[in-house]
């Protein structure tokens, strides 16, 4: 079989995708390996926010790949290939999550995304009755003054990773695609099939929580001024 000329880098996402789609339709193994290489990891991580069990998540990803192959002839390119693949995953994972939950203990149902706690603990602000009510009781630290090796160290990144895992599923889904994968807002909304407004609210809650986790961690050594 002839090797696909896959343009490397992201010179033209459109051209690159058209080439990939055409190659996939021919059943080209390298093209398939390429999309698995690109999207396999984030797909699996996204799947794990819907179904916590690793084996089930892997299963969902596998199902997704098969659905991608079976549907590639019908793929019309109205969304990007990437968005389409992630849409398939989120649909399958949702269905699977509902099925899993039915057989899970009731406690597994707890912890959805409908929390409405503030982005920052209320006690960080001056209380009612104060002349400056609602203003910072103590200003947050200036992180740009932290030593780079602390801010960008492996330990900090591991903490960020752990903080994502602690998020309610829908918040984790949005922040993963937006900030970890670096997708634009409209692609995230399309892939997860949520409104732009909802996407923004979930992103807001997620970022606020990751920031709070970082703040706690970074203040431990009291390095900030």
């Amino acid at each position: 079989m002839q090797p696909v000329a896959l343009p490397d880098g992201r010179r033209s996402d459109n051209e690159d995708e058209r080439a990939l789609v055409a190659a996939l339709r021919r059943g080209d193994e390298d093209a398939f390996a390429e999309i698995v290489r690109r999207y396999g990891a984030p797909l699996l991580r996204l799947a794990r926010t819907f179904v916590r069990d690793q084996a089930v998540a892997e299963d969902v990803v596998q199902e997704t790949w098969l659905a991608v192959l079976n549907g590639i002839d019908r793929f019309e390119g109205r969304s990007s290939l990437k968005t389409w693949i992630f849409q398939i995953l989120s649909n399958r994972a949702k269905t699977r999550a509902v099925r899993e939950r039915r057989s899970a203990p009731f406690s597994a149902l707890a912890g959805d995304d409908e929390d409405d706690e503030g982005a920052v603990d209320a006690d960080r602000f001056l209380g009612v009755g104060d002349r400056w009510a609602g203003h910072w009781a103590a200003a947050p630290a200036d992180w740009s003054r932290l030593p780079e090796e602390r801010l960008l160290g492996q330990e900090t990144l591991a903490l960020v990773n752990a903080a994502i895992d602690q998020l309610p599923p829908r918040q984790a889904q949005v922040i993963m695609l937006r900030d970890v994968e670096g997708w634009p807002a409209d692609e995230v909304s399309a892939a997860l099939q949520i409104s732009d407004g909802n996407q923004r609210i979930l992103l807001h809650r997620a970022r606020s929580k990751v920031r709070a986790a970082l703040e706690q961690y970074l203040s431990e050594e009291g390095a900030a001024t």
């Binding site: 339709r25 021919r26 059943g27 193994e29 398939f32 390996a33 698995v36 290489r37 999207y39 396999g40 990891a41 984030p42 797909l43 699996l44 991580r45 892997e58 990803v61 596998q62 790949w65 098969l66 192959l69 079976n70 503030g118 982005a119 920052v120 209320a122 602000f125 002349r131 009510a133 609602g134 203003h135 910072w136 103590a138 200003a139 947050p140 630290a141 200036d142 992180w143 740009s144 801010l151 960008l152 900090t156 990144l157 960020v160 990773n161 994502i164 922040i175 900030d179 970890v180 670096g182 807002a185 923004r200 992103l203 807001h204 970022r207 606020s208 990751v210 920031r211 970082l214 703040e215």
Partner: protein, 88 residues
């Protein structure tokens, strides 16, 4: 006694910071938040923290690679190809 109605408070800023960074605020609110940030060290630092948080999130690499499954996946592909009506 109380602050001017158009004066934004820090605890409002932290709730609309994502809208602000996404450019999703209406003009009046955008003006209010900008005016607040200009005069508030706490909120300036807070928004800096959010920006650094976003930067750190972008540095997190997903460890679960696609490779472990790829032998299985190649089998999926072959099977799919075999079951397909013949292609050119």
């Amino acid at each position: 006694m109380s602050a001017e109605p158009e004066d934004m408070r820090c605890n409002e800023v932290v709730e609309i910071v994502t809208h602000y960074l996404e450019g999703a605020l209406d003009e009046a609110t955008q003006t209010r938040i900008e005016r607040h940030i200009e005069g508030c060290r706490g909120c300036t630092h807070y928004i800096g923290q959010i920006r650094i948080t976003i930067d750190l999130l972008g540095r997190v690499r997903t460890d679960d690679r696609g490779e472990p499954q790829s032998d299985e996946l190649r089998a999926v592909l072959r099977e799919w190809r075999a079951g397909r009506p013949s292609s050119p």
